[in-house]
Structure formats: C-alpha cells, structure tokens
C-alpha cells in the first residue's frame, strides 16, 4: 500500500499545481477584462474622491503582486468576498447554486448511468438484434439533437399545450429552501421532471453506446467460454461480462459529471432553474466579478476532484491496476 500512498500524494500534488494554474489564468483574465470593476459598481453621481476610496477599499491601487497573493489566499480559503448586487456573501450564494445544480443533475445522472448501463450492456450482449439496432439508432439521434431544442419543445408540449408540468423554476416562492426540505417536496419533483428528462435524453446515450461497445469487446474473451464450460447459466455469464465491460464507464462517468456540472447553462436558463450555470451567465453579463470568479473556480475544482476520484476508483474496481 506504500505504492498507493505515493501515488495519491503525487496525484494530489498534480491537482494542486493545476489549481494554481487555473487561479493564475483566471486572475489574468479578469485583469485583462475591459473596464474597471469600480466603473460597474459606482453610480454616475459618485465623485472622483469616492471612487478612489472604493478602489482603496478593494485594494485596486496596490501593486499587482500584492493583489495576486491576496487573491490566491482568498480563493484557497473559499473567501469570495461580496457580490456587487446582492447582500449575501458570494460563498453563501455559491453554496445555494451548487446545491440547486446538483438537485438537477444528480437525479438525471443516476437515471442515465443506471438505465444507460443496463440498456447498453443488453444491447452489446444481443448484438444484431432489433433491440440493439433500435438502441444505437435512438442514442445517436438523441445525442445529436441540441438540448435547448429538446428543452423548448418539451416546454411547449407539456407546459404550454398540455399544462401538465410547471414551465420553469425549482420550487414556488416561499417553498422549502433546505436540501432535505426540497427533496421531500412534491413541488421540486414536479419541476424536475422536464429538465431532468431532457437531460437524461442526452446523457443516457453516452453509457448506452459505451457499454455496448465495451460489451462487444468483452464478448470475444476466452473466459466467457470457460464460464459456459463450467456450467453457469446465461444470467451469471452476462453478469461476468457486464462487470468487465463496466471498467471504462468509471472514467466516463467522472468526466460526464464534470461536464454536466458546468454545462447546464442552457437548460438552467430555459427552465429558469436557479443553478450555478445561470448564475455564472448573469454574473458575467452584469460584470459581477466576485460571483463569476467563484463560479468558474468551483466548476474547475469539481472537474478536478471528479477526475481524481475516477483514477482512484479505477484501482478499486480493476484488480489489475497497481500503483507502482
């Protein structure tokens, strides 16, 4: 296990380096952005004196390296400061938004991975069947249709025409605002159906196609013949094959989760879901620097963390992986 510890330390050091790179690039980006933050924050009626005081307060008159080091420290401590246009701290807002985004993507992710795996594994096992061909064709179509198109279509049909489901939002105003409160609220689930299904319709195609091809590869393995020769039933053999075909899915799911986490800008806007993506777009259009910075930083951290977890998990599920 000494090998594993060394590996873990090395991976953590690498991750730390990547975080530093991201932070530095972000710092440069926001420095290069046209306009002065004070220009957005201040009113036309501010006197030059007041503007200078504000600049002082934000440390914008300090040398760049002082600003850079202060920025690094704040980011590492998750101290994102205060937004220009809201009262809560950025950290509090981020916590809310991250939770809301998770409330949309986690259920969709679970459904996509579980059902996508089953469908894909079965399709691969029954290669050449009607089921397999239908699964592949449907997946390719769903994968290619842009999600905003499916989203708007779903809204038109189920909300505006049939009036079965609410057109947007997460819970009505004054509804529950804690995680457990939301999960227990039928309102949340009703609001989740449309964006959730739109998300599943695209995300499920990845596991289907991946498992199918992975299964085809496993199907050629000698060990399946041996399982047959020792008298196992078809069901047990499929379990063995699927267990082997699952290996590449781990990395895929980690990457997919990262992309989902940062990629829900369109869906969150279409369905007025108060998540991280929507917040980022709003912050950028209003040039709300602290919020935009925090949102970008969190997205990067989540992606990094998921990749690390995937690598570690890979060693846990495939006994052939060693850390030497």
């Amino acid at each position: 296990m000494g090998g594993f510890r060394r590996y873990l330390l090395r991976r953590l050091a690498q991750a730390g380096f990547v975080v530093w790179c991201i932070l530095t690039i972000m710092f440069l980006l926001f420095k290069l952005m046209p306009g002065d933050p004070t220009a957005i924050f201040v009113d036309n009626n501010f006197t030059e004196d007041m503007i200078q005081r504000q600049r002082m307060l934000w440390g914008l008159n300090d040398p760049w390296w002082v600003q850079y080091l202060r920025y690094l420290r704040n980011m590492l401590l998750f101290d994102f400061g205060h937004p220009f246009f809201q009262n809560e701290s950025v950290a509090e807002i981020m916590l809310d938004k991250v939770r809301n985004t998770c409330l949309m993507i986690v259920p969709a992710l679970l459904v996509s991975v579980v059902f996508g795996t089953l469908i894909g594994a079965y399709a691969g096992w029954t290669r050449g069947s009607v089921f397999e061909r239908a699964a592949v064709a449907t997946s390719l179509v769903l994968h290619s249709v842009p999600s905003f198109f499916v989203g708007i279509l779903a809204l038109m049909v189920f909300s505006y025409q049939l009036r079965w489901l609410p057109p947007g939002g997460m819970v009505p105003l004054g509804g529950p605002d804690t995680l457990w409160g939301m999960l227990a609220s039928p309102d949340y689930w009703k609001h989740l159906v449309l964006p959730g299904l739109v998300l599943v319709s695209r995300e499920i195609t990845g596991p289907i196609l991946l498992l199918r091809s992975s299964m085809l590869e496993v199907k050629g393995s000698d060990f399946l013949d041996m399982l047959r020769a020792k008298g196992l039933g078809e069901g047990r053999i499929v379990v063995h094959a699927t267990r082997n075909a699952l290996l590449p899915l781990v990395t895929y799911v980690a990457v997919m989760t990262g992309i989902l986490f940062q990629g829900q800008v369109l869906l969150e806007i279409i369905f007025a879901w108060p998540g991280l993506g929507r917040e980022l777009v709003q912050a950028l259009t209003h040039l709300d620097f602290p919020v935009a910075q925090a949102a970008l930083y969190l997205m990067a951290l989540v992606t990094l963390a998921l990749n690390l977890i995937a690598d570690l998990l890979y060693g846990a599920i495939d006994p052939r992986v060693t850390y030497e």
Binding site: R228, R243, N244
Partner: protein, 335 residues
C-alpha cells in the same frame, strides 16, 4: 461412454458455411484417453467445443450425434446440457492465460463452479477448494489472489483444479499446454496424466504435440481438414498408415533419433468452405494419384483397431520408405 457418430459441425462465415468437422466418428470407452492430433484448423478444437456444448454462436451441429452416457448431446435441451457441463464433463481450456475472469479472485471462480451445480455450505466449499488446490500443488494462501497475480503455469493448475471441482467423469483438455514454457508444460502434463491414470478419468486430449499424445494416450485419432484420417493405438506414430501421419511424424523431433532433420509438409490446410474433391490431403500429398482427387477414401479398418482413410494403403510400405527422404516432400505435385 463418449461416442461421436458422423459428427458434422459447421461455422457460418462470410465466404459461406465452413465444415470444420466433417462426418467424424470416434468412440471413447470408460477410463480411456483419446488423443486428437492435427494442424491448426483441422477441427480438433471444434470437437472439444461441440462435446462441451460451447460452440460459438456462428457454429452449429449440422449432422450426427454425440452420445454421452446414453444421451445425445447434439440435441439435448440447453438446460440439461448446462447441468452436465462442469459436473459430468469438464474442460481444461486452451489458453489458461485468459480463461479466468480477470476481475474475480481465483477462489470466487472456483466457488462459482461448485455453486453452479447445487447448493453446498460455505465451509464445505472452502474445504473442497483447499483440497483441490493442494492436489495440483498450489499454495492455499494464493486462493484469494486475482488471476493476473498467477503465472501461466499456476493458472493452468488452477484450471485443472477447477475442472476437478465436481469430480466429473470426462475431462476434455484442449491444448492444455499451449503458451507455457517447456518445464511448466511437463508439470501440467504430469497433472493431466495423473487425472487419467490415478483417478481413472476418461479423457479427450487435444493437441498438436505428437509427443504428448504418444506418451499419454491409449488411442489416437489424426485429423486433417475436418476429417479423421487415421485412428488407432500408439502404433499410429510408430507405423503410420496415412501419408499425412507420415508427414506429421517427419515434422516432429524424435528423442531417439535426435540427428534426424525435420521435414515440413509444404502447402496449407484446405479451405473448409469449398473443400477439395476426393481426398482432402491429395493436393499436398506427395504420393497422390489422379484417382485421389476424384473419390473420397473411406476410413477403413486396416488391422484390428487400426483405421485409415487412404486409397493407396496397399503401397504404404513404399510410402514409409520414401517419406524419410526430404526430396519426396519438396516436389510440388503437378495437377
């Protein structure tokens, strides 16, 4: 105990149906060891798969019967056939390297082989598995390893242990020493031999190594292009009756006559989708006559217990003499 009667196995291929095994009849008595020899693609492994009931999806038994203890395996209901596999007959596979599922421990896979044929309490299973492992000379501590932690020889031993898990009557060993180094090959063969000699298992041993067959088998069948061309006891290699067997013997080193140069048979095995007319070996046979490409020779009893399928059995003494001469095999047959 096991009898193939006019067995015909076909594989669907893009070029058409390949007759991998063509009208082969063989019988194996209780406690006997039958060796199947021949080049790659001669149908010997297909016979193993057909007997075990694990033909690939594109393969089918087109004709004939496989009688095993009074049942016809060719037409047996899949569930009945599954019940026989592993319990009444077991396979020692061709490539032990890949015959274990890489993501389960060796113990789990042995356990599964036992559980596939009825419940047994966990302690009893553990005890049985430990005994099996000890019998093939593996350390019991290694049971919880994964297959990739085993060497090739250890894996093949574990395979033999797995084959013996439920004490089957028939062992089908399909090239059990392929891919192992010579010393390990010998150890594995000793284990296989002891299954046959000490535990009186009936055995179908498939290999292209004639020395292995000569050493271990009571009876021998030589296959060529999906057909059995010669059968008999050890004398098959001492006094071959078929020109193909003569060629095979030339191609293998002889311990008693180390100085003898090896002679290979020129040409390639026949196309099984459209096999040559007449004797399948005729296009490569240095002694072939026109008649050989026209009519197919039947497998006839030449001496008691000795069968061969050749039109010119009458000239076999001359063939044996001429087969020793490398030039005989060099001359391309003009046809």
């Amino acid at each position: 105990m096991l009898a193939l009667e006019g067995l015909e196995v076909r594989y669907a291929t893009r070029q058409g149906e390949a007759r991998a095994v063509d009208r082969v009849s063989l019988a194996l008595a209780e406690g006997e060891c039958l060796g199947l020899v021949g080049e790659s693609g001669c149908g010997k492994s297909t016979i193993a798969r057909a007997v075990m009931g694990i033909l690939p999806p594109n393969g089918r038994i087109a004709a004939g019967r496989i009688r095993f203890r009074g049942q016809d395996l060719a037409t047996l209901d899949p569930e009945r056939s599954r019940e026989l596999r592993g319990r009444r007959m077991a396979l020692v596979p061709q490539s032990a390297m890949n015959a274990f599922d890489p993501v389960y421990t060796v113990r789990a896979q042995l356990d599964e082989a036992i559980l596939a044929h009825g419940a047994m309490a966990a302690p009893a299973r553990a005890e049985r598995i430990a005994a099996l492992f000890a019998r093939v000379g593996l350390e019991i501590a290694r049971l919880d390893d994964y297959p990739h932690q085993f060497s090739g020889g250890m894996r093949q031993r574990a395979m033999i242990a797995m084959a013996m898990a439920l004490d089957p009557d028939l062992i089908v060993a399909d090239e059990p020493t392929t891919g192992l180094d010579v010393v390990v090959q010998d150890q594995i063969l000793q284990h296989i031999r002891s299954l046959h000699r000490e535990q009186r298992k009936t055995m179908l041993l498939i290999t292209h190594d004639m020395a292995v067959v000569a050493e271990n088998c009571d009876r021998i069948a030589v296959m060529y292009g999906g057909r059995a061309v010669e059968t008999g006891d050890r004398a098959v290699f001492e006094r071959p009756l078929h020109p193909y067997t003569l060629g095979l013997c030339n191609a293998f080193p002889d311990l008693d006559d180390g100085g003898r140069a090896l002679i290979s048979i020129p040409g390639a095995p026949p196309d099984l989708v459209t096999p040559p007319a007449g004797c399948r070996f005729a296009p490569r046979c240095p002694f072939a006559e026109n008649h050989c490409s026209e009519a197919e020779p039947a497998l006839l009893e030449v001496e008691p217990g000795r069968h061969a399928a050749c039109h010119r059995l009458d000239r076999i003494e001359e063939f044996r003499r001429r087969a020793r001469d490398p030039d005989t095999w060099q001359t391309e047959r003009k046809s």
